[in-house]
Amino acid sequence: MRVRLTVNGEQRHADDVWEGESLLFLLRERLGLPGSKNACEQGECGSCTVYLDGLPVCACLVAAGQAQDREVRTVEGLATGDPARGDRLDPVQEAFLAAGAVQCGFCTPGLVVAAHDLVERVPHPTDREIREALAGNLCRCTGYEAILAAVRLAARWKAGR
């Protein structure tokens, strides 16, 4: 089947989509957006987190066909400019770099989207709120401390913007 949707502000479509396919597969394999990662395919790790109509969801648990006519924002759509030309990343992405919150980087895109949602909604998140917001994202490398530091930093930057 054909699926039409908006991805990172652009009207996109894909053909020959299998009816049982996930939004994650559609994004990665058909639309060339490999930022969202595929690790567990069962909602446990959060590495596939994207915005669907403004809410963070696991792209592996959304049927591609359910994204028809909807708006998806992936990690690729967070940076406002073109990083290749030296444009700025989103403050959340900058904060992950500054705080050393990235090791192997596999979990990072999902965490960045989940953290982005938190700091957009909650201007001064408490540590409890940060932990709660990131409870659906697993990281095997960092031990999370640097990630918490990155989110605190991102929240401060956004508040001071």
Partner: protein, 290 residues
Amino acid sequence: MDFLRPDTVAEALALKAERPEAVPIAGGTDVMVELNFDRRRPAALLDLTRIAELREWSAGDGVVRVGAGVPYARIITELGDRLPGLAMAARTVGSPQIRNRGTVGGNLGAASPAGDAHPVLLAAGASVEVASTRGRRLVPATDFYLGVKRTALAPDELITAVHVPETGAPQQFSKVGTRNAMVIAVCSFAIALHPAQGRVGAAVGSAAPTPRRAADAEAFLAGELADGDRWASPRPLPDPVVRRFGELVASAASPIDDVRGSAAYRRHALSVLARRALGWAWRDYTGEVG
């Protein structure tokens, strides 16, 4: 495989009547796992997420009608005051990503004995609204769960809503798991006080082939509370009453040993959950009335 996209309940029911083998998909948090792991290859998926009616809730006559497709995240933010038990259970489901998608309709459709909405619906005295082209009917939650992952839903029916009494009285939900987030209940317990009816609802999850009410515990506590008119002039409950209540809740279960816990552990944990939840609910009630 076909992907069916009804925009209204009427269209969805017509499709389900024509294609009873079509698998409804709401939040997809159960269905997609089965598809991703090739555990299921349905002939058709029936996407319910375009149907506005299923995503609405309304209140009237002391009952809240929650559309089958209202995600947990909205139950928490919009219904915490009216349906405290359901909102508490919703807060414990999965993670923020899962709560943004997962629905009570999906919890009922999956009918896992461990589903978190079930004990709450049983304790609150809720009914499940189901519909087909033949009409709508209300199934009391107590009659909905027939066996492991088996429900009273006919092949041509869809769940359209749950009707949950708005009691204005304390409710509690409590679950045992290995961490706070992303945990399937080892066992769970819900209690709802119904002062207007002089009755208490109590139910267990993940402790029997189906979620079930703890009827003996309910009757015992109703008797104790009627005695000396504790509803009108609430006083702290004597220890032996609370203890006996916990024992009766545990005896309502018929748990199994599995990877998440042993049957003996589940029984013990249920009696503890029941004592604590009753303590919290009764303390809140005493604070409100006394």
